[in-house]
């Protein structure tokens, strides 16, 4: 898989902002098939940084209902990437 197929988009929320400030961690939505190693490689390639560690989480899509009809948002994979000290990523044009 090409690096751009692995990483779908960065996640920018209050939580990730704090992680970025305090822990030098960046979060992405990634392809569900990707593993920590391929994510690490992809991030290093796209953003030209050194990655310290990657943690991944399977995020379950929420079940949404409207009256009797229930639906489910799709599940996805989140990756929290820790950068080596001193490295940083300046966002963003969207990947």
């Amino acid at each position: 898989m090409m690096p751009h197929d692995v990483i779908k988009r960065p996640l920018i929320t209050e939580k990730t902002s704090i992680q970025k400030e305090k822990l030098n961690q960046i979060s992405f939505e990634v392809d569900r098939r990707a593993n920590r190693i391929s994510i690490k490689k992809a991030v290093e390639k796209i953003f030209d940084v050194n990655v310290d560690a990657v943690r991944t989480i399977q995020v379950k899509g929420k079940v949404k209902r409207r009256g009797l009809i229930t639906g489910k948002r799709k599940d996805w994979k989140k990756a929290i990437v820790t950068l080596k000290p001193g490295e940083r990523i300046d966002f963003f044009e969207g990947v």
Partner: protein, 440 residues
């Protein structure tokens, strides 16, 4: 803040303005902080969005806002510092605002012309004394008489002749069939010899008697004004009902009463002569003013800012539009556009602006003011000319406070002109004959 002024011409300047970095940063901070409190961004609660995110999302908007507010405030300051009186809106082409470093921009402004004191005394002016002549009154009466003429059936029994008015029915046929352009028309009143249809038609009517019927053929020429009839042979059937003649009323008290609210002929004559005299007085005044302006402009010429001319021009065009609208025609119908009018009247507008500037200067120079009494008189005069009670006029101005300033200014200008006339030498001249005839 630093300002430097560059002259382009006497009424056009470019201001180079530089705003120091601190001010820029301060303003930007203020704007971002304000925005942060309100911005709604997905993934963040309202008010918790970090500055970096806000900057990334709203940079363009914020910069545009800050730029315009910076320019506004600094421009006003710059004006105070440089002590320029600008007219119209400044022309600013703002460069992009950077997050750091001072902000520089240029503003092109136009200022009202600075005039030297005007020496207005001792102009020698010529005043033409127009007099109302008896012949003119006679002519007006004749015209009135003609307007009030009635058509009357002639008493004698005679055939129609030239200059008679006849009442006819007519119908035209093209190749034996009724034709739309000459459909049957009843009780058509026409004067023989004027040829409302065509001269040949009139000729055929001569020597017909009331009650007569006649069939005849008329050939319309190729260049006939009605294209649908041009170059056609039309056969007409005409019935003549009545021969009439024009009866002019006597010029006497009866006519005077009919013409309006006049008791007698003398009164009517007086009204006519008053009317003429008013016109002449106005003309005299205008000619005097014309001379004054010409003289003053030659004494102190100056350049005019374009905006002032444009503004005046706008007024002229609006006036024209209004008067066209009043007559229920649009300018486009008669082939005029705003642009063509603007081009045509640009000189006039410039002239008018010059006059206003000159008079304005004179008002300053002599520190003329309008007292309450004078204002009252002015309003009264206006009330008379509009035929409205003075209270109504006053009411109007009470509701429109800025209009009254404008009106006061008009009065001031009048006063200034009067001052010029009073301190000029006026030579009375007799009107030249041909000029008198040119009236009306």
């Amino acid at each position: 803040m630093q300002v430097s002024v560059e002259d382009i011409n006497s009424v056009k300047k470019t201001l180079h303005i530089e705003i120091p970095e601190e001010t820029v940063v301060q303003e930007l901070d203020k704007a971002y902080n304000k925005l942060r409190k309100k911005a709604k961004v997905k993934g963040f609660r309202t008010g918790k969005v970090p500055r970096s995110v806000v900057v990334r999302l709203f940079k363009k908007d914020v910069q545009a806002d800050v730029t315009s507010s910076l320019i506004q405030s600094s421009f006003l300051d710059a004006l105070k510092k440089t002590d320029l009186k600008i007219v119209g809106t400044p022309n600013v082409d703002p460069p992009k605002l950077e997050a750091t470093g001072p902000y520089r921009y240029d503003a092109t402004v136009e200022i009202s012309p600075e005039l030297e004191d005007i020496e207005y005394r001792g102009l020698s002016l010529k005043r033409t004394n127009y007099k109302v002549l008896d012949e003119e009154i006679e002519a007006q009466l004749k015209m009135l008489q003609k307007n009030m003429a009635r058509h009357q059936k002639i008493a004698e029994d005679r055939p129609a002749q030239n200059d008679d008015f006849v009442l006819i029915d007519y119908e035209g046929f093209k190749e034996g069939r009724p034709f739309a352009e000459t459909a049957k028309t009843e009780n058509f009143n026409m004067k023989i010899g004027e040829g409302p249809i065509i001269k040949d038609f009139d000729d055929q009517l001569i020597s017909m008697k009331p009650g007569d019927k006649k069939d005849f053929e008329v050939k319309f020429p190729q260049d006939y004004f009605n294209k649908k009839l041009a170059d056609l042979d039309i056969s007409f059937q005409v019935t003549l009902h009545e021969i009439r003649e024009e009866v002019f009323p006597e010029i006497d008290d009866v006519l005077a009463k009919k013409a309006g609210q006049y008791e007698s002929l003398d009164e009517l004559k007086k009204a006519i002569s008053d009317n003429l005299e008013q016109g002449y007085n106005k003309r005299m005044e205008q000619e005097l003013h014309e001379q004054i302006y010409k003289e003053l402009i030659s004494r102190s010429d100056f350049e005019l800012p374009d905006v002032m001319v444009d503004m005046e021009l706008e007024g002229i065009i609006e006036e024209a539009e209004r008067s066209f609208a009043y007559r229920n025609i649009s300018m486009e119908d008669i082939g005029l556009t705003r642009e063509s009018i603007a081009e045509k009247y640009r000189d006039t507008a410039a002239k008018q602006v010059k006059r206003h500037v000159l008079l304005g200067k004179l008002i300053d120079q002599e520190s003329l003011t309008i007292s309450d009494d004078e204002l009252e008189d002015g309003l009264k005069e206006m009330a008379d000319s509009f035929n409205q009670p003075i209270e109504q006029i006053k009411n109007y101005y009470n509701q429109n406070k800025n209009k009254i300033e404008y009106f006061k200014h008009t009065l001031l200008e009048k006063k200034a002109i009067k001052l010029i006339i009073d301190s000029s030498e006026i030579e009375d001249v007799e009107p030249q004959k041909e000029e008198a005839a040119a009236e009306d």
